[in-house]
Amino acid sequence: MNNLKSRLAKEKRFKAYGIISIITALTLLTILFVSIFSQGYTAFQETRIQLPVYFDQEILDPNKTSDWDNIKKANFNGLVKQSLRNLFPEVSGRSNKRKLYKIVSSSAEYQIRNIVNNDLSIIGSKQNIWVLADDDVDMLIKGNINRNLPENERRIDDQELMWIEYLESENLIKKVFNKTLFTSGDSSESEQSGILVALLGSFYALLITLALSFPIGIATAVYLEEFAPKDNKFVDFIEVNINNLAAVPSIIFGLLGLAIFLNFFEMPRSAPLVGGMVLSLMTLPRIIIPARAALKSVPPSIREGALGLGASNVQAVFNHVLPIATPGMLTGTIIGMAQALGESAPLLIIGMVAFIVDVPQGFTDPATALPVQIYLWADTPERGFVERTAAVIMVLLIFLILMNSLAIYLRKKFEKNIT
């Protein structure tokens, strides 16, 4: 009786420990997610200001050439400034004017330049153009700068605040979906910076990683598990090394890439090609080990059944063992790829950590990667970059969740096919 009581109590206690640890883990995860999301969600919007732009013939094309080669040299910046002056005609004095010019992003002149380039007939007309606001204005609009603070404690002074409040009252300022974040590369101005370079860099690098590590990894696993002679010193040696590789810190792979791929083979720096090659070194053992486990878990009776029917070794492996092991092998591969996607250290070493504005056109163009972009932006103190850092983390997390869900989905799907 007493015995039973203590046994039940023990069981209850053990259950409680389990529940407590799960709750702790979930709480920490929730805190992490909430802090990232609460800081980052605003980054998916950007602030735009409506400027009444007069595409003045005198400024743009005084000689009436209608030739873009001439027009492109025009003073577009002056056009923006003029528009701002038109919006706030009462502003006078150099320093005040300079302050006024700074409420729009420095990208405004390029935006207007593009508009002219697309349609030269616009010259001479008056248009209302929504240009990007400066990051400080953006922060104020999003509520990240408190308007009630004393003037000397906020980045927007009273005069600027007055202009912004005037724009707000006239509905000349609004928040829109942040397309810039997904369509541009890095920039020193937070409102103009985007993650496209990092996204493409990660994408290209992962393609290379998949193309290299998946076939090599699966072939290695199949050979070692199904065809390699057992009790062979050399095979044992390889096995130990693969297991060791899985535990090598990833930065070491980066150094290896630097020494061999960059210095010896003189491959391009900062290129997703090299990044992918380095990541595939790191991913290989992470594909091989689960793939071997998956092959090992196929019941030997299946293999024997096939051999007993007169199937050759290769037939038994490819017709019966591999199909059963596929879900496990795919899961391992996808999780390995997800780890590669989240890896930054080796990419830092081979130079995928640079200020890259131009969108990479291929595997050899310089690029960064998502985790490296986080590292780069996390370094900058500006409020606009803090928000964008959180946004990249969210994008990265979404990709990781998608990949891991795909792994689970594939496993479930193939398992259903088998049993």
Partner: protein, 278 residues
């Protein structure tokens, strides 16, 4: 209580020094095994076993666990090749060809000598594909019609066709254990072997399924040579014409089943069939 220890000691010495008693030869042999020795690493598993296996007979191999009967069975289609440490010596003729020869193609050998395993091991594919796999890899059917015929015939011979004809697309793992074992037999028959090896085919089955398999063995005897390893002595008595008794790696006694179970010549055989050890 018997003085068991003494008995074991005695049997050990007898087993190690004994020649096979009974009649190892038959008039019309399909398989002739001469001086088969099998080792796992350095450990001998079978000592100098010689036996003929006749055409259209069922040979039962009985003996206590670890006596080498399964090992001997697996020599007959060189399944022991899959075990790295296993070494087989001696001569083993199937239709005048030494199948232990390095040059023998195990793939075509295993098509001639089929095998049914202890646990039903259907492939995780449809019932149809389970049976069709063997004919497919050996190129036995030119087209779908011929393949269908082989599959249906094999299922029919295994007594399974009536039970599964409406669900040939169902996975082979979805039917009952006894049906799965008959599916494995159908799969083996489909490649038209000469010899069928059965390694305790009923040990995982209930009595009704067992009875069905035994009936099946009785029918199959007309067309195939069958070698069956079994733990159930009644089963050996029911299905076989000849019985071989193994003990500690020695082939102790071979003879007509009726004689082995009524008037065994060797003391070890007698002890075993009267249930003194096993």
């Amino acid at each position: 209580m018997f003085d068991n220890e003494e008995l074991i000691k005695e049997t050990k010495s007898q087993a190690l020094n004994s020649e096979t008693v009974g009649d190892i030869h038959v008039d019309d042999p399909r398989i002739i095994a001469k001086n088969i020795n099998v080792f796992y690493g350095d450990k001998p598993a079978i000592n100098n076993a010689s036996i003929d296996i006749g055409k259209n007979e069922v040979l039962a191999m009985i003996g206590p666990s670890g006596c080498g009967k399964s090992t001997f069975l697996r020599c007959l289609n060189r399944m022991n090749d899959t075990i790295d440490t296993c070494r087989v010596e001696g001569e083993l003729f199937l239709d005048n060809e030494n199948i232990l020869d390095k040059k023998t193609d195990v793939v075509s050998l295993r098509a001639k000598v089929g095998m049914v395993f202890q646990k039903p091991n259907p492939f995780p594919k449809s019932i149809y594909d389970n049976v069709a796999y063997g004919p497919k890899i050996h190129g036995m059917a030119k087209n779908k019609i011929e393949l269908d015929e082989i599959v249906f015939k094999s299922l029919d011979k295994a007594g399974l066709f009536e039970e599964v004809k409406d669900r040939l697309d169902a996975p082979g793992t979805s039917i009952s254990g006894g049906q799965q074992q008959r599916l494995c037999i159908a799969r083996t028959i489909a490649v038209s072997p000469e010899v069928i090896l059965m390694d305790e085919p009923c040990s995982a089955l209930d009595p009704i399924a067992t009875a069905k398999i035994e009936e099946l063995i009785y029918d199959l005897k007309k067309n195939f040579t069958i070698v069956i390893v079994t733990h159930a002595m009644q089963q050996a008595a029911r299905v076989s014409q000849r019985t071989a008794y193994f003990h500690l790696g020695n082939l102790v006694e071979v003879g007509p089943t009726s004689k082995i179970f009524t008037t065994p010549q060797h003391k070890l055989t007698e002890s075993y069939i009267t249930g003194r050890f096993g």
